[in-house]
């Protein structure tokens, strides 16, 4: 069944309600080990969904992806095979799934990476067709993706890059550019929120950065761009305990009732810090299962085998 449809009304706003329901779900799960867990969650969600829509104050949809299929550009290697996902303001979504299931591809397709070609389906971001826009226009519209492995750019200082990026978005919004000093004032608190030393600004973009430093730098860019939807591709991989806490705190610090986060991760660890409203499991280019935070816990405990056994 398409769990996503039932669940989509559940949002951060409704999380107290969800939390109320959760113990029930948990106890059932514990009582009967494997069975109808998801089914029960979905019933709960439908209840919430109906309640929410009847109150008619459900948060605005930020992103709606329907039936998205994509191939590697210039080939017929299909990687995304009918992705459906709706993200509303205030929500945190997590996508999990085995290596190679298409998680990074999905996020790259959303931001317009030239390696992939969309062959079907739609993606509407803030009411506009995402696929009509150039990658930079998607960024201006408020879509952000942190790269799983960001590229190094020798010869371009991080400071210049951040400022160019910030000013590009401001120009698109009709705001005046920030000069170097103003920009530094704007940047400074964001830098300290990430526990990053200002020396990172003088260094070239990602050049010689450690894995963890690159991830911090990605989040710094997110902070500068103040995006409405942040897609974070494995922001937790390669981070030590302290770095994970810093990065997660920074992401939480950026959350508002009007923006949303889509995280891609393999581990529960990150979800302990940034609590997901929904967890999706991806397999072979599709979302095959959707649940809440418990789904990730179940996955952590039993692996993908246990999940498929449970469905």
């Amino acid at each position: 069944m398409d769990a996503m449809v039932c669940l989509r009304a559940a949002s951060a706003y409704s999380s107290p309600r969800l939390a109320l329901k959760s113990p029930t779900a948990t106890s059932i799960l514990h009582a009967s080990k494997r069975p109808a867990f998801l089914c029960i969650r979905n019933v709960a969600a439908i209840e919430i969904g109906q309640e929410m829509s009847s109150r008619n104050d459900s948060p605005k949809v930020l992103l709606k992806v329907e039936g998205l299929t994509a191939v590697v550009a210039g080939t017929d290697t299909e990687i995304l095979r009918g992705m459906n996902l709706t993200i509303r303001e205030g929500e945190v979504h997590a996508i999990m799934g085995k290596n190679g299931s298409g998680k990074s591809t999905f996020s790259k397709v959303l931001v317009g990476h030239p390696d992939y070609e969309v062959t079907g389906g739609t993606a509407v971001f803030k009411g506009e067709d995402l696929f009509e826009k150039e990658p930079e226009e998607r960024s201006h519209a408020g879509l952000f993706m942190s790269f799983q492995s960001p590229v190094e750019v020798p010869g371009v200082s991080n400071m210049d890059f951040l400022r160019m990026s910030c000013n590009a978005r401001r120009a698109a919004q009709g705001l005046p550019e920030l000069g170097p000093l103003e920009f530094y004032g704007f940047l400074s608190p964001k830098l300290s929120a990430l526990n990053m030393s200002p020396t990172f600004l003088d260094r070239n973009v990602n050049e010689g950065f450690s894995g963890g430093e690159k991830k911090r730098n990605e989040i710094l860019q997110l902070a500068v761009l103040e995006a409405d939807l942040a897609i974070l591709d494995e922001i937790d991989s390669g981070l030590d305990v302290d770095a994970l806490r810093d990065v997660a705190n920074a992401v939480n610090g950026l959350r508002k009732s009007t923006n949303a986060v889509l995280m891609i991760t393999h581990y529960q660890r990150l979800l302990d810090y940034i609590k997901p409203t929904f967890v999706h499991i991806m397999e072979k280019g599709q979302i095959v299962k959707t649940g809440d935070a418990l789904l990730a816990k179940q996955l952590e405990a039993g692996g993908y085998e246990a999940l498929s056994a449970g469905s």
Binding site: H113, V151, G155, V156, M164, S165, L225
Partner: protein
């Protein structure tokens, strides 16, 4: 043999991704054409998505040699300078043969005669004259046994000097006392900033000669004792090679004065020493024949044990003048000594610039060159470096920018003959125009006794116009068997992944391309020790790129 199969496979992979149509033929040993990313990659046997590395261990007598001659043809997509296809490569004959000598060459004979007639500067003492006349005599002999280099000589295969030979070459006779340049424009604010200025090959001014035991100035200001102790022992003796090179010899005959730098044992100079070579006199046009005014500036640098110095050499000249600057610099570094050498060639666009840099490095010493070649119509820089003792470190970073009708040529040779040597070379070249040409021949020779050498060499070229050409030959000759060496060459367009990264952060692709083209060179320019020099070089490069349409004009300066 594991090493062989890995090297070969990375060759194929790289070729298909970078230069789709290039053909590479190994001459001897391995041949590698690899997109390189960083010369500091681990030198183990590995291939990575960023670049390919070959590590060779315990395979004596390997010679790796490739000559990649890449031409771009056809026009590109959206932006004309962007996507190009690279075509066929040729492999040179790997023998470094010398031209057979058939007796003196008339043109050379004439030129040598004119140079020999030149007077020394008047202030020179008898001992000073003696020192220089040794060099002159020796150089005259050598020159007459050599021929004007033609394309038949391997070392000048891509460097067409016929136009020079078909011109009149007249040595500059009267040297101006005042160059008319503003020292402040070079970041020299007062006499406290140590400097030396050459005007058309002879010294026109300098800061005070002696300061804190350091000598900077003309040989004419040195005492006879010092000349005997330092100059006579060292001049023309940095390497045997310098006495066999045609242009070095020509310089030797035409030398009228010598710039000398002596940094005594243990002295660590904090501020840089700035040497400006200015050319003002140009040749006239005499009927059909263009005349070039030749000057032969020469520099001798002696750095004592545990002494340290940063030397800036800048070559500039009057716009629109036809001159030929044929310079030689010899650098001697004693044990544990250190030279940071920052060199900018920004000659007038009609000028010919030929320079020899010869470095003799004793045990535990360090020599680091950062070079930017931007100006002149024909630029040829020969670097010759010898590590004369163990634990010696050599780094070379060069950026060459070739625009319309410009040839930027770098030939370097680094010889390691002792244990635990360290060597890094990064060569970067941008060719912006179809009539521009970049040439690089970088030889690193690791001799039998140079065990545990750690050597890395990388060449990257960016071709921004249809039919723009580079001929690159990074080559590593390894005779020792216990060494770590990495080596690679890439001729490419900008990296798509980088452009996308900019776009994903809201920056339009044209701005991204412009920034990336500029940063390609800035990676080298950033290594200049002197901020003022760096900023000036960046400005010059930026303006040049803009004037040739290689980048957009509104790009924000770094």
């Amino acid at each position: 043999m594991a090493a062989a199969s890995i090297a070969t496979s990375s060759l194929q992979v790289s070729c298909s991704t970078i230069a789709a149509e290039s053909k590479l033929l190994p001459r001897r040993g391995f041949c590698l054409f690899a997109p390189g990313k960083s010369i500091s990659l681990p030198p183990t046997l590995a291939t990575s998505s960023l670049g390919s590395i070959i590590g060779m261990q315990r395979h004596p007598n390997l010679q790796i040699s490739i000559y990649i001659d890449v031409k771009i043809h056809g026009s590109a997509r959206k932006n004309f300078w962007v996507k190009n296809s690279a075509t066929a490569a040729e492999i040179s004959s790997s023998k470094q043969q010398n031209v057979p000598s058939f007796g003196p060459d008339d043109f050379v004979f004439d030129l040598a005669e004119k140079l020999e007639e030149l007077d020394y500067v008047s202030a020179l003492s008898a001992t000073g004259k003696e020192a220089l006349s040794h060099l002159r005599e020796h150089s005259a002999e050598t020159t007459l046994s050599l021929q004007w280099p033609t394309n038949k000589v391997e070392a000048y295969r891509f460097t067409d000097l016929r136009f020079l030979r078909n011109s009149n070459v007249e040595p500059v006779r009267q040297c101006p006392q005042d160059t008319g340049i503003e020292l402040a424009d070079f970041g020299i604010r007062s006499n406290a900033d140590i400097h030396l200025v050459f005007a058309d090959g002879v010294i026109s001014s300098s800061s005070s000669n002696w300061k804190d035991g350091v000598f900077v100035g003309s040989i004419a200001a040195l005492s006879d004792d010092h000349i005997e102790e330092f100059v006579i022992k060292k001049l023309g003796k940095s390497a045997e090679w310098i006495n066999t090179d045609f242009f070095a010899s020509l310089n030797g005959i035409g030398v009228r004065e010598l710039g000398v730098v002596i940094v005594p044992e243990g002295v660590k100079m904090q501020s840089p020493l700035h040497i400006i070579y200015h050319s003002s006199e140009g040749g006239s046009k005499d009927g059909e024949k263009q005349s070039y005014a030749l000057s032969c500036p020469r520099l001798l640098v002696l750095v004592g044990k545990e002494a340290e110095v940063t030397i800036i050499e800048e070559f500039v000249g009057e716009k629109g003048e036809f001159y030929w600057s044929n310079a030689v610099g010899e650098f001697f570094i004693e044990e544990h000594g250190r030279i940071c050498h920052n060199y900018v060639q920004n000659q007038a666009r009609e000028a010919v610039h030929i320079k020899q840099t010869c470095v003799a490095q004793k045990q535990c010493s360090s020599y680091e060159l950062v070079e930017a070649a931007i100006g002149s119509k024909l630029n040829r820089h020969n670097i010759h470096i010898q590590q004369l003792g163990p634990d010696t470190s050599t780094k070379m970073s060069s950026f060459l920018l070739a625009g319309q009708r410009q040839l930027q040529d770098l030939h370097s040779r680094l010889i390691l003959s002792h244990p635990r040597g360290f060597a890094r070379q990064l060569h970067k070249c941008i060719v912006m125009h179809s009539s521009g040409h970049g040439v690089f021949d970088g030889n690193v020779k690791v001799n039998r006794y140079a065990q545990q050498t750690d050597a890395g060499q990388l060449s990257r070229s960016l071709l921004l116009a249809p039919r723009a050409t580079v001929s690159v030959k990074p080559n590593l000759q390894i005779i020792a068997d216990d060494v770590k060496c990495s080596h690679g060459a890439a001729i490419s367009d900008l990296e798509e992944e980088q452009i996308f990264y900019f776009q994903a952060r809201g920056i339009d692709p044209q701005t991204a391309r412009s920034t990336l083209v500029f940063s390609f060179g800035a990676e080298i320019l950033q290594q200049f020790k002197n901020k003022n020099l760096q900023q000036r070089a960046e400005k010059t490069v930026m303006e040049f790129l803009q004037s040739e349409g290689a980048i957009k004009t509104s790009i924000q300066e770094a």
